[in-house]
């Protein structure tokens, strides 16, 4: 009980006695951050597939695998945070259909099974067949197993792969919106909490998810290309940076709209929320989320990328430009993580009596600790590494039936 006594000493004003313990900690911050990356990466992949944005084609397969890797890890922080993790399956067995959280199981299952796995399978099926023909040993059997016995490489079958993949992506876009919009809804629908309760919450979550997903893919594409000693496709990088800029503008506008709306309405919670922002959340909200995570990347991308002017307001050589892109993408990741922090933790730092502020004591060890959350942030990258080894997403690994048959 030592941490709670510590918290009790740092409470200012009055909070309800039961509010001394903060209920959703770092793990619940990690969860929306991870699902946001899933949704964002998938939306990027759908740009190629549905909207025919050919420039970002080099990121297509990597984005799909990234979405899958993050989706596999996404429920782990939630599971670790449950008081009774062994009962988690009750959400599937006896769901309360009035609960936004109960719908999680179904949205997650839908997204994993119907959207991501199917799309990846249809996209890779041809390659899986050809790889298994060429390879020996474990890889041969693994790839053969993954074809699920569908070895037909006739033009008709390949055409079906294409149209099925496209159809699933079309379903996938609203699904990705649903996946992350619903996470926003979980917070936005809590009328007891004036910091969360906002109809804009799902939309803000969605656009910040797309921002974080595109920024992550930009980083991963750049990193994987440099590590493989391949030339970086600057047309692709420029396009990614442009999309990032546009989306960041929308995201920032929505955040500002929410901010101004709250200030202008000035409901009874305005005083405590103002105090919250100017004291406990000043670093994570004003500095990290707004200035470093949004305004600075906006300036960087706006001046260097072709978003506003064909060759950028400031024309820079490729190497420097992509370095700045990467810098902006890292800043955006920090900013989006801060956004999740400010929603989840920020929403619990003030009392529902609107009379006081409390603190969050982060632990290092234990399930709710810093190390576990850090591990859960790294784990998707390890999963991605395994996926890349099993299903190489690089253009040179892609097989062509004629070449494979000969």
């Amino acid at each position: 009980m030592e941490p709670l006594q510590e918290v009790l000493r740092q409470v200012t004003g009055y909070i309800y006695p039961n509010e001394v313990e903060l209920h959703w900690g770092l793990l619940v911050v990690v969860y929306p951050y991870l699902t946001g990356l899933v949704a964002g990466a998938f939306i990027l992949a759908s740009l190629v597939r549905v909207f025919n944005v050919k420039e970002v084609q080099p990121t297509y397969r990597l984005a799909l695998l990234t979405a899958l890797a993050y989706l596999i890890v996404a429920p782990l922080p939630l599971l670790a945070h449950l008081g009774r993790p062994s009962r988690a399956f009750e959400i599937f067995l006896t769901p309360n259909f009035h609960s936004a959280m109960a719908m999680f199981g179904f949205v997650y299952a839908w997204y994993l099974m119907v959207v991501l796995l199917l799309e990846i399978w249809f996209d890779y099926r041809k390659d899986l067949v050809l790889w298994s023909k060429r390879e020996t040993g474990v890889r041969h059997w693994l790839h053969r197993l993954l074809t699920l016995g569908a070895g037909d490489l006739s033009p008709r079958a390949l055409r079906f792969d294409q149209s099925a993949g496209r159809f699933i992506t079309i379903i996938g876009i609203p699904s990705a919106f649903l996946l992350h919009g619903y996470v926003g809804f979980i917070f936005g629908s809590v009328k007891a909490n004036p910091w969360w309760s906002s109809v804009l919450m799902p939309i803000v979550f969605l656009f910040s998810a797309i921002v974080s997903g595109i920024a992550l893919m930009l980083l991963l594409y750049l990193l994987s290309t440099l590590l493989r000693s391949k030339p970086v496709d600057m047309v692709c990088m420029d396009k990614l940076a442009t999309f990032l800029f546009y989306d960041l503008v929308v995201d920032f506008s929505l955040e500002m709209l929410d901010f101004i709306h709250r200030l202008y309405e000035a409901e009874e919670s305005i005083q405590i929320l103002s105090l919250l922002v100017s004291s406990r959340l000043f670093l994570s909200l004003v500095i990290l989320q707004a200035l470093l995570g949004t305004v600075l990347p906006l300036l960087l991308l706006g001046s260097v990328s072709p978003a506003l002017r064909n060759r950028g307001i400031v024309s820079l050589p490729d190497e420097l430009r992509r370095l700045l892109y990467a810098g902006a993408a890292v800043l955006i990741q920090i900013g989006i993580f801060s956004t999740r922090w400010n929603v989840v933790i920020g929403g619990q730092l003030f009392s529902k009596s609107l009379r006081g502020l409390t603190v969050y004591k982060m632990q290092l060890l234990g399930l709710e600790g810093l190390f576990v959350s850090g591990f859960l942030l790294v784990l998707p990258l390890l999963v991605l590494l395994v996926l890349i080894i099993v299903l190489p997403p690089w253009p040179e690994a892609e097989q062509h039936p004629e070449a494979g048959a000969s």
Binding site: P17, N18, H23, H81, G83, R87, I91, H98, F104, S353
Partner: protein, 264 residues
């Protein structure tokens, strides 16, 4: 004594005989009588439970703010009756003290939930008004906690009490977040949500909740909302009633009389 008996025996032989018989019969009947009494007692104890029909009741509580003296006996009784963790972060009920200054600014405190009363204020100079407010789960008719529970572990009974099913609760704490009144906590021993039950185990036996039972000033009134003869119905008939955070439309069933606008 023997002398007296011998004198008296003759004339009352007949009566004495029947008295002896009567006493004899009584001594034979005594165990039966005791058995009967015992059976009746057992039945009386068990009867309300066995015959309890939740549909016939709809419970609520009245709190007369003007009567509360902040002694904290309700908090102590609640912790004892319901085995609530003793640490000062877990309460099914607690008492708040409001001290409103001359400019209208309210200062609120609830040291350890008010379980041991309140320390005197350094100075009562310039105090505009001051009062105590007992708080507990409002047993809302439209409870947000029930709405959000992903597995339906939190539910409302037919007689209007919101309970937690300990066989189902997964400890996600969404209900704690959804409660506007801070009335829920996570029991550190079971890792499950916990809250006021209106002492449901007592109520179904015709008793009142422990906090109501011990209140020395009658600041808490418990009863059936729908029965006109219940103490609660009387309370709501003779007082101007207010509920907490009515704008959230949770329809609380804890009714406050003499509630101040500062109370949230």
């Amino acid at each position: 004594m023997g002398e007296w008996k011998r004198d008296a025996r003759e004339p009352s032989e007949q009566i004495s005989g029947s008295r002896r018989e009567f006493l004899h019969t009584c001594s034979l009947a005594a165990p039966l009588l005791l058995l009967g009494l015992r059976a009746a007692a057992v039945e009386a104890w068990a009867a309300p439970e066995a015959a309890y029909n939740a549909r016939e009741h709809y419970y609520g509580m009245g709190v007369d703010v003007a009567r509360c003296i902040g002694c904290g006996r309700c908090v102590e009784a609640c912790k004892n009756e319901n085995d609530v963790p003793r640490e000062p972060y877990y309460f099914r009920t607690w008492v708040e003290r409001y001290v409103v200054g001359p400019a209208g600014e309210a200062e609120v405190d609830s040291p350890n939930g008010g379980i041991a009363g309140f320390p005197p204020k350094p100075s009562e100079k310039g105090v505009l008004r001051t009062f105590f407010v007992p708080k507990l789960c409002n047993q809302c008719a439209d409870p947000p906690c029930v709405q959000v529970c992903p597995v339906g572990a939190t539910f409302a009974t037919e007689d209007g009490v919101v309970l937690v099913d300990r066989d189902y609760c997964i400890g996600c704490r969404y209900c704690v977040q959804a409660c506007p009144y801070g009335a829920r906590f996570l029991d550190p021993r079971t890792h499950m949500a916990d809250k006021c039950t209106f002492c449901y185990h007592r109520v179904v036996r015709g008793l009142v909740p422990a906090c109501v039972e011990v209140c020395p000033t009658g600041a808490r009134v418990f009863g059936d909302i729908r029965q006109r003869s219940s103490p609660l119905a009387r309370f709501t008939r003779f007082n101007k009633i207010m509920t907490l955070k009515p704008h959230l439309n949770t329809k609380p069933k804890v009714f406050y009389a003499a509630l101040d606008q500062e109370v949230r």
